[in-house]
Amino acid sequence: MLIYILQRKSNIIVDFLKCLKKANMSVIAPVATLILLWVIIGIKNPRLLSWFGFSRFLLTVIPMLICSFGVSHVIRMGSIDLSIEGQVSLSGVLVSYLVKNEMNSYDMGFWAIIIAILVTTIMGVVNGLIHTKLKIPSFLGTFGMGAIANGVSILIFKGNPIRIVDKGFRQISLGKFINIPNMIIIALVIYLILLFLQKRTLLGTYINAIGGDESLAGMVGVPVNKYKVISFGIAGFCYGVAGVMLASRLGAGMSDLGNGLLFYSITGVVLGGTSILGGSGGVTRTLIGVLIIATLKTGLIIFRISPYYQDLVTGLVLIITVLFSVKRGILQIAK
């Protein structure tokens, strides 16, 4: 069984390398941008290029990265998920409420994590059902669900940060395994799983098909509704994981754990080359896109530009990328 899985995973690596060889513009441009940015940063502050500096940098970015993995599934289908912040906050608050903390006598340890992630996965599925059964456009349905999730998390939170006492839980974000921080390992595992789903299963193919042309996919026999719901569910799962990580890192559960994630996650997905209209892209591109965003943020800090400009830069970058990804004739950065 183990050998079977190893074989599968090595196939993926071979696929990955083949992809790079194809010299596809939509892959080259983001990667090139990333390398260029790191060169600039490296010149200004060489300490960041060390393993220590780089892993510190990665750590700040991982929750957002996992959220972006989740959202990329939804965006690849051509929909959008505006409930990221609410779900992440809900997961974080829920998990800190159920783990050993200073506020109440719950001490569920590992089960708290399972429950929190289960809750957000179910919320994701509900998002998908609202979209497919009630026929509400995804941006409105998820907007409403996000508000509900945020409201529930505020209710549990009641205004005081829930301080976590469970040391084992905090090890998720603070601990290392063979000298690699736990969070990076978790992110890597999720990345590989999602990559596997995307490249090797029917799920990945169908999601691409639905994004490319939904009515056509429906006519050909793709169970569109079912896979839309699954997509939103995967997204919910990712938000849950990210929420647990954020709560673990902060050591407390607060209802604004998710703040700012929506904007940066979506920007990360779009920057990586996944088209807003759906049909192309994937977790690898999202990975690169999120790294670009995080590098931009770090770069602004290193070059001592006021943090108030962060949103401005990110917004402009997002708009420019979207413009280029829609206008096909001019620059083929994305499909």
Partner: protein, 316 residues
């Protein structure tokens, strides 16, 4: 045939009936509710929400959405606060100019760039928020007491009604006039009902789109200025909490997300429903934060009711 007629009538009267019902229920719970003082303060309280919702109605009628109004509101307030000491009454003009400019920016990228409106306005919302932070250095910009004179027109009353209410009524009338009596109003409804058909009929869809977003920006700027007047300071975060109530107001009022149906009077009623619900929940003692849950749920329910399923060719 008969059931269809009944359906339409039900939807048409729903907002008005709900407002009457809520008012009755609230006044039963608390008899002071109907007092003149309370009604006046209710009108003042709702005014910003009404104005913002009217602006958003234009955008939603064309089938788009504007996620940046919160940032436009905050930023125009900050601009007025910063410009007031040096430019006097011109500061208000700058605020309005910014609103129209922000709307223009939104409109032109959505129209010419053919980008989805929610992504563009999400991004531009971040840009305006950033601008607000930069102008205000992250802190609320207060108005010095010797300059309070400049704010007086916002907080004073004329003919027994708060000025704010008069401005709101003027904007409502203006909005109704545009939608029902002008050519561009017909075009807006047409675009919502079927954009491709409208374009093929020779209407310059892009220009209408830009103007719609500019209108929304203007209305949002007015809202921001009124908030500034009331709070006596320009705060970069003041508009953040308005996005959900505004969209819910428009949807509750009966304007369909698919565009083409609805209008300003319905939105005004929708805004009142939201405010009355908020008041009611406060009176009953529901947590202020739980109200977000209620609003999210109401949003989903009302969108479902008002959706015109015939127009849903491919749902994104």
């Amino acid at each position: 045939m008969k059931t269809k007629e009944l359906e339409i009538d039900y939807i048409k009267w729903f907002p008005l009936l709900t407002v009457i019902l809520l008012t009755l229920v609230l006044s039963l719970i608390n008899p002071d509710f109907i007092s003149l003082y309370n009604i006046k303060s209710l009108l003042t309280q709702t005014s910003v929400l009404v104005i913002l919702s009217c602006g958003m109605t234009f955008v939603l009628l064309t089938g788009g959405i504007d996620l940046s109004i919160g940032s436009i509101v905050s930023c125009s307030g900050v601009i007025v606060a910063v410009a007031l000491p040096n430019y006097g009454y011109w500061a208000y003009f700058f605020g309005l100019l910014f609103g129209a400019g922000a709307g223009f920016f939104n409109g032109i990228i959505v129209a010419k760039g053919k980008a989805p409106s929610f992504i563009v306005t999400l991004a531009s919302g971040g840009i305006w928020l950033s601008l607000a932070y930069v102008c205000s250095q992250g802190r609320p910009v207060p108005v010095p007491t010797d300059l309070t004179y400049y704010r007086s027109w916002i907080i004073s009353e004329t003919l027994g009604l708060p000025n704010v209410t008069l401005i709101t009524i003027a904007l409502i009338v203006f909005g109704i006039f545009i939608l029902q009596k002008t050519t561009i109003g017909r075009y807006i409804y047409a675009m919502g009902n079927g954009e491709r058909a409208t374009m093929l009929s020779g209407v310059n869809v892009q220009s209408v789109r830009i103007k719609v977003f500019m209108l929304n920006g203007l209305f949002a700027a007015v809202g921001g200025i009124l908030l500034f007047g009331r709070l006596a300071s320009g705060t970069p975060t003041v508009g953040n909490s308005y996005l959900l109530p505004v969209i819910t107001s428009v949807v509750v009022g009966g304007t369909a997300i698919t565009g083409g149906f609805g209008g300003i009077p319905r939105t005004v009623l929708g805004a009142f429903i939201i405010t009355l619900l908020n008041n009611g929940m406060n009176v009953i003692g529901i947590d202020a934060f739980a109200q977000q849950i209620v609003m999210g749920a109401i949003l989903i329910v009302c969108v479902t009711i008002n959706l015109d399923r015939k127009k849903l060719l491919v749902l994104k």
